[in-house]
Subunit: 311 residues, 2 copies
């Protein structure tokens, strides 16, 4: 690993709102075995629905920033060290001179979540290993995680370990996620936006709803559904797909849906099959796969270098 | 801000376990507005109760590492940029040549949490602004957050904003937190341990239960209760307290309890009142206060330099 020189690094929370809770009954609680019981009054003001952003600015800083947005049931750590300990895209982008902003969206990771069930009702969903084996296209769904797709580039030996990074997800926080992402982009300023899976829904809605266009480019990593919204036609869009899509009705449908939405845009849109670029074997988590550095290079060549004015 | 040179940076998840869920009824769900409804089978295997650790190794690397452990209802971001945008202790330690490991403990931040209520029953607690105003000793509890203690060094104008970083907390995850912290320390190797508030309970239990002593020193920042456990007598302990403790029965009791536990140890223990060192006005979140760099310097002088062999 080469040493990394940073002009700056830090983090901030952004967006969010306060809610006032009243009329609830106080409860008697013990926080730890060594703290006496005390009465907790649940009534009061709570700060919720912010997002967390961690940034690193490399020295030399040679490009516009990249905002990395995780997918559903994930958090920003998906862009960091891979489950088997290789550098993730965050590190690789820094080494190429891009400032990197990694967001934990509303309810995920260090953004925190709201456990007041009068405000966020219901239990969030967790993803089982078996479900993810199928959804992330590691191998066929039917075979109890015994069979891996041939040429699979996800670090399969670390699949179970990688699940420690997954976060439960609510299904009703989309508006809050859009609001906080919008604030994050306003704070960061003009930036490339790279987004994974169902994060693409949030990113698309956010960019469509923003008054000024702050996205220099939009890279959709396996978009899990795109809303029929218009983003600024100035934003070039690259949609990137891994392998084994044809083994999954779920992903075949999402691919088709995403292509339809992109075809209706006035933007410069390109869809990239990694297979067709000579990079077969990539899973849905292609930023963590073996060979992730080659995938990133293709994306930079096709999308971000163009917009950055670098040939 | 001076540029920061890093030999390495990255992150890992550690510890945790898998649980198998069976006998549950599948549910029909829509993940996003653009994904067709599908049937979620909640039965299967889940990975839970890991911890997340992010590390930065400075160049030059002049000291043993420091592991920073957040308190209850917090996550690792509490050690990063302060709510008003100043460098936190993570950055300050890196600039002094310490490798820094920041942990998100079980259930907090990027460690994720378990939303399977057959495994983790009940709703986690959230902290209201009003409750924190009192507990963090920003000002008197009784006056609806209108009154600030005189000389207060917490960045009060950013108090509400700082609440976006707080995480809900369960009250039954202590054993899981100890197990994951233990694995994290084993992976990091010999390290200074610096822990805030009720994180001290977990850290104390963890160090007491570990077979080999990997803690070079233990710095307790306002320990919110200490268990009556014996840690290796080789570990020097420094307990650090801010201001306004006498205004709070809660904190006066915890101070007394903590002093009793420390007095019963065979360790070299010191308790430091920042007031008595000429540093008045510090809140419970003293690592985020104005003047946090002076508090860190005192800690390094009293504790870590001694153990590091630096005079």
């Amino acid at each position: 690993m080469k040493p990394l020189k940073l002009l700056d690094t830090g983090s901030f929370h952004v967006g969010g709102r306060t809610v006032a809770i009243s009329g609830q009954t106080p409860v008697e609680l013990k926080l730890t075995g060594t703290i006496d019981a005390f009465t907790l009054d649940p009534n009061g003001t709570y700060a919720i629905e912010g997002a967390y952003v961690q940034y690193m600015i490399p020295d030399p800083c040679e490009h516009s920033p990249v905002l990395l947005i995780h997918g559903g049931g994930m958090n920003g750590s998906v862009w960091e060290t891979t489950p088997d300990g290789r550098p993730g895209w965050q590190r690789q982008l820094l080494e190429k001179g891009y400032p990197v902003y990694v967001i934990d969206m509303v309810e995920r990771g260090r953004a925190g979540f709201c456990s007041l069930d009068t405000v966020w009702p219901g239990q969030p969903l967790m993803r089982s290993l078996e479900s993810a084996w199928d959804t992330f296209r590691i191998g066929p769904a039917s075979n109890d995680m015994q069979e891996v797709f041939p040429g699979q580039k996800f670090p399969v030996d670390f699949f179970e370990h990688s699940a420690l990074a997954w976060s439960p997800r609510w299904l009703h926080t989309e508006k809050a996620a859009v609001a906080a992402l919008s604030k994050a982009i306003e704070r960061i300023g003009p930036t490339h936006v790279m987004v994974h899976s169902s994060g693409a829904v949030t990113a698309f809605e956010t960019l469509a709803g923003m008054e000024s266009n702050l996205a220099l480019s939009l890279c959709l990593i396996e978009p899990a559904g795109l809303p029929e919204a218009k983003i600024s036609p100035d934003i070039p869009v690259l949609s990137v797909w891994g392998d084994f899509v044809e083994h999954s009705v779920f992903w075949t449908d999402l691919y088709t849906q995403s292509e339809m939405v992109l075809a209706a845009l006035d933007n410069r849109c390109e869809t990239l099959s990694l297979n067709e670029c000579g990079l077969p074997g990539h899973s849905h988590l292609l930023m963590q796969d073996t060979g992730n550095e080659r995938v990133l290079d293709v994306i930079l060549d096709r999308l971000m270098h163009v917009r950055d004015g670098i040939t």
